[in-house]
Amino acid sequence: MKRILWIPGMIALLGVGCGHRAAQTAAPHATAAGSALVESSGGKQLGMPGTMLPQPLVVQVNDASGNAVTGALVEFSGPAGVSFDPAVALSDSSGQVSTNVTMGGGSGRFELTAASPDKSGKKFFLKVTELSGSYQQQVGYEVNEKYCARCHNSESSAQRVSNYDNLSVKPHSFADGNAMNKLSNSDLNAIITHGGPALNRSALMPPYGWTLSKAETQSVIAYIRLVSDPPYRPAGVTYGKQ
């Protein structure tokens, strides 16, 4: 009889224990609500599987007239394996929330979501894409940065002025899936190795076959496949018999 008395006691203790933990991770209390989320910085970064992205992801909560909202609750979520630090936070005095994103296992595109409740408690969302690259794709990224991006990326920065506007025939951005996905791996290999004329295109695309190693060429192809949007689906491979 005595022993049975312990049981409610244990349950109570368990309850206290769990309650304590729940209290620790409880969401911060929102003091305001916005109506739109915009990305401030940190989207479309390239990380490696399981590692933290170099820059934090920063989003901003705005109200209907586009002013920053302080104290709004923002919740981050992503596919299994992706983690956020913090995963839930309140927007700061400039309406921003910053979180460090650690990528999940495996390489590819990761669609992340930031969500925040509006005045009525209904959530509005912002989708942000981050990339996770394998070793090969990281090498491809470096090759692209060094050799290709000046022509293929139309955006200029202080460190790297773009040459895009100066070209009489315009190359495509590697992120332009509609253009890049039409080219097979062997097409890509041909134009990168032998230059534009290999695919009957402009000689403004130089040949890199005597500058890059075969592995580097393969790696830049793997990188192009990673960043293309819509994503690349190779033809002719079936992924499962229904």
């Binding site: 490696m48 296992g105 394998s134 090969q136 470096e142 202080a158 790297r160 000689a203």
Partner: protein
């Protein structure tokens, strides 16, 4: 005797009436015992995974190939030279199947493409864990004495660093971590020996403190010691969490210990009155001299922009005294013989302008609350003791204090530190990566008597430093030496003679590399004497104009005297010649018009050079390569020809693609380019 035997038989019969029954029981037990092993095997974890794998590949398009590749049973990679016995593929059955690259469920994912093959290196060399184990728990998670659990994927690049001691394209985390270890002074206190026989050396250049009283005030030193980051967010000096009293005493000691440098504070009389008179002219001199290539400064928008080779200058006016600043600008090596700052040979008037401009860059908050009473001898003595205690002399030169040897524990093998030797904080995960990361993040939490300072690393930087530390393993030293890819040899090239003196003086090597030594901000000059024409070099040194409009960092003007400039030009033209070809083997003039025309066509059509280069300023637009409108007055014909044939052979790493050009094409293009000369009109203007 007989009766005893009878008794035993009788009692036996009493216990077991029929001998068949015990015999049956024992046999059954034996049978069960014998069955345990095969049953355990049959129901083993790994067999279960293999069944799942077989079921998975059945549904795939290339099922037949995958099934042909699949081998059941325990699979093992045995590499005695590397100490590898890896059975990981027993469960990770699809590791080698490129067609499974879309599978993300473990243990069946294909291994991402890397430059090594499984059969050469096995698994644990990179992933750690127990290769010989055949259960997940043992293989991945065992922490028994001397065993390393699997390395979390976020730190995987550390494993490349066990053999690759030079920068690798595919390992940004590791590269960043190593740069932090050398750039933030970690290796000034902690010795890190690498398996290639080298020792990591610091790349930051903390200033000597021997004459610090000439340069700044005790108040500034105090505030800086309390929190370097509040003066400059890019400061590499960490925070020692000093108490007010300790900072007071260290600043007292440093000022008392400082020895005045002769001629240091001599200021031209005009400076004091004239200094801030014309801030706009000062600002434009700052801009023209390309100070921002190396120094950052806060701009009007509040952003800190500029290079990081030298210190940030946003608050320089609150730091240094005007007399010191002017003499520093006049001759930086007088104060610090090891500085990377060039001597610009500014005129007195320019020195005044710059000094005035820089003195106006103040950070008034920084010193707002610092009020120090005159130092007492006891405080100075205590300050000296603290300077020794905190190992300040590991990084800074300080009078009367020797650079301590092995001030902090050696870290050469910290990436293999056994877990049982670590002391974890409450609530910490018991793993080596977590320990290292936490130890760097908040070192003082691990004990009250520790002196390790605090770096304000971002989480991503922390991950990078941890990755670099994890690469320092026992295995790194035990792997066969022929696997080591050594760090680039450190060259101690020093240009000779008076010209060499001038080059040291202007610190050419802060930006240019020559024979393997120097910076990478500007072109490598090792073969400059073969590349350019004498007249051009002389004119360029006199008045550098940029060749690449797209660059923000440019060659500053160093105001050399005519005779110094002539000497430097001669030296470079004579000494920096490649043995690969004869500079004057091709003429600078006299090419047939037909050949020139052919070159023009090759330039614009076959090779599309106008994508990056401008020959005709009206029509060509590409400007990521050097402008070639006057290339015929700048480069030698032999250099152009050799460059076209193989640019990387002349300047490794250049982004100009090698076009595998025929000799004829290269010759025609050379003919075309060498005719692009400075027009007479322009020459007259110069």
């Amino acid at each position: 005797m007989n009766s005893l035997k009878a008794k035993i038989v009788a009692s036996w019969k009493a216990v077991v009436r029929d001998p068949i029954i015990p015999f049956g029981v024992v046999s059954l037990l034996l049978l069960i015992a014998l069955a345990i092993a095969p049953l355990k095997d049959h129901f083993s974890e790994w067999r279960n995974y293999q069944h799942q794998y077989v079921r998975m590949i059945r549904t795939r398009g290339d099922a037949v190939t995958l099934q042909r590749h699949f081998q059941g049973g325990i699979r093992q990679i045995w590499l005695p030279k590397l100490g590898v016995v890896d059975r990981c593929q027993t469960c990770h059955a699809g590791l080698d199947e490129a067609s499974l690259s879309d599978v993300s469920t473990q243990p069946f994912a294909a291994h991402p493409v890397i430059p090594h093959h499984l059969d050469e290196f096995g698994c644990v060399v990179c992933h750690r864990g127990q290769g010989a184990a055949t259960t997940v728990a043992e293989a991945h998670h065992s922490k028994m004495a001397g065993e390393q659990p699997i390395l979390p994927a976020r730190y995987i690049e550390s494993s490349c660093g066990q053999c690759h001691h030079s920068t690798l394209e595919g390992t940004p985390k590791l590269n960043q971590g190593r740069t932090l270890l050398t750039g933030y002074g970690c290796v000034s206190c902690h010795t890190i020996k690498l398996a290639d026989g080298t020792t990591m050396t610091a790349t930051d250049q903390p200033p000597p403190l021997t004459h610090i009283a000439d340069k700044t005030t005790r108040e500034w030193i105090y505030a800086w010691l309390k929190d370097p980051a509040s003066y400059s967010t890019t400061a590499t000096m960490p925070n020692f969490n000093l108490s007010d009293a300790d900072a007071r005493d260290i600043s007292a000691f440093l000022i008392a210990d400082s020895e005045p440098l002769s001629g240091d504070t001599a200021m031209t009389p005009a400076v004091a009155s004239n200094s801030a008179a014309d801030p706009a002219a000062g600002a434009s001199l700052y801009g023209e001299s390309f100070c921002a290539s190396c120094h950052a400064m806060q701009n009007a928008a509040g952003n800190v922009v500029g290079g990081n080779l030298g210190p940030e200058l946003s608050g320089i006016g609150s730091k240094v005294n005007a007399g010191w600043l002017q003499s520093w600008l006049r001759d930086p090596r007088h104060y610090d013989p090891g500085t990377q700052m060039p001597q610009y040979r500014w005129t007195d008037q320019q020195l005044q302008l710059l000094t005035g401009y820089l003195q106006s860059k103040t950070n008034s908050d920084f010193l707002a609350n610092v009020h120090l009473a005159a130092a007492t001898p006891a405080q100075i003595a205590h300050g000296k003791a603290l300077v020794s205690e905190y190992g300040c002399a590991s990084c800074h030169q300080i009078r009367g204090i020797r650079k301590p040897d092995n001030f902090a524990p050696e870290l050469s093998r910290v990436g293999s530190k056994p877990l049982e030797q670590l002391v974890f904080l409450d609530g910490m995960q018991h793993s080596l990566p977590d320990y290292l990361s936490e130890k760097v993040r908040r070192p003082r939490a691990f004990g009250t008597n520790l002196h390790m300072p605090v770096y304000a690393f971002t989480p991503a930087q922390l991950e990078a430093v941890t990755t670099a530390l994890l690469s320092l393993t026992d295995r790194s030293f035990t792997l066969p030496p022929q696997l080591q890819v050594p760090s680039p040899r450190i060259s101690n090239y020093q240009p000779a003679g008076h010209a060499g003196q001038l080059m040291t003086n202007m610190n050419c090597l802060s930006c240019h590399r020559i024979h393997g030594r120097g910076g990478d901000m500007a072109p490598d000059l090792t073969w400059e004497g073969s590349a350019v024409q004498h007249q051009w070099l002389d004119a360029f040194l006199k008045n550098p104009n940029t060749l690449r409009p797209s660059l923000i960092r440019r060659m500053p003007k160093f105001n050399l005297s005519d005779s110094d400039r002539a000497e430097l030009t001669d030296y470079m033209m004579t000494v920096y010649q490649t043995p690969a070809f004869e500079r004057d083997s091709m003429p600078l003039t006299g090419y047939a018009p037909a050949e020139v025309e052919q070159g023009r066509q090759l330039f614009y059509s076959k090779y599309g050079c106008q994508a990056c280069h401008i020959v005709n300023a009206q029509q060509d637009k590409g400007y990521i390569g050097p402008v070639l409108t006057q290339v015929g007055s700048r480069l030698t014909a032999a250099w152009i020809y050799q460059w076209l044939k193989n640019p990387q052979a002349l300047r490794p790493g250049t982004t100009e693609p090698n076009q595998n050009m025929s000799d004829d094409d290269a010759r025609a293009l050379t003919a075309f380019l060498i005719t692009q000369k400075t027009s007479l009109k322009q020459e007259a203007k110069q």
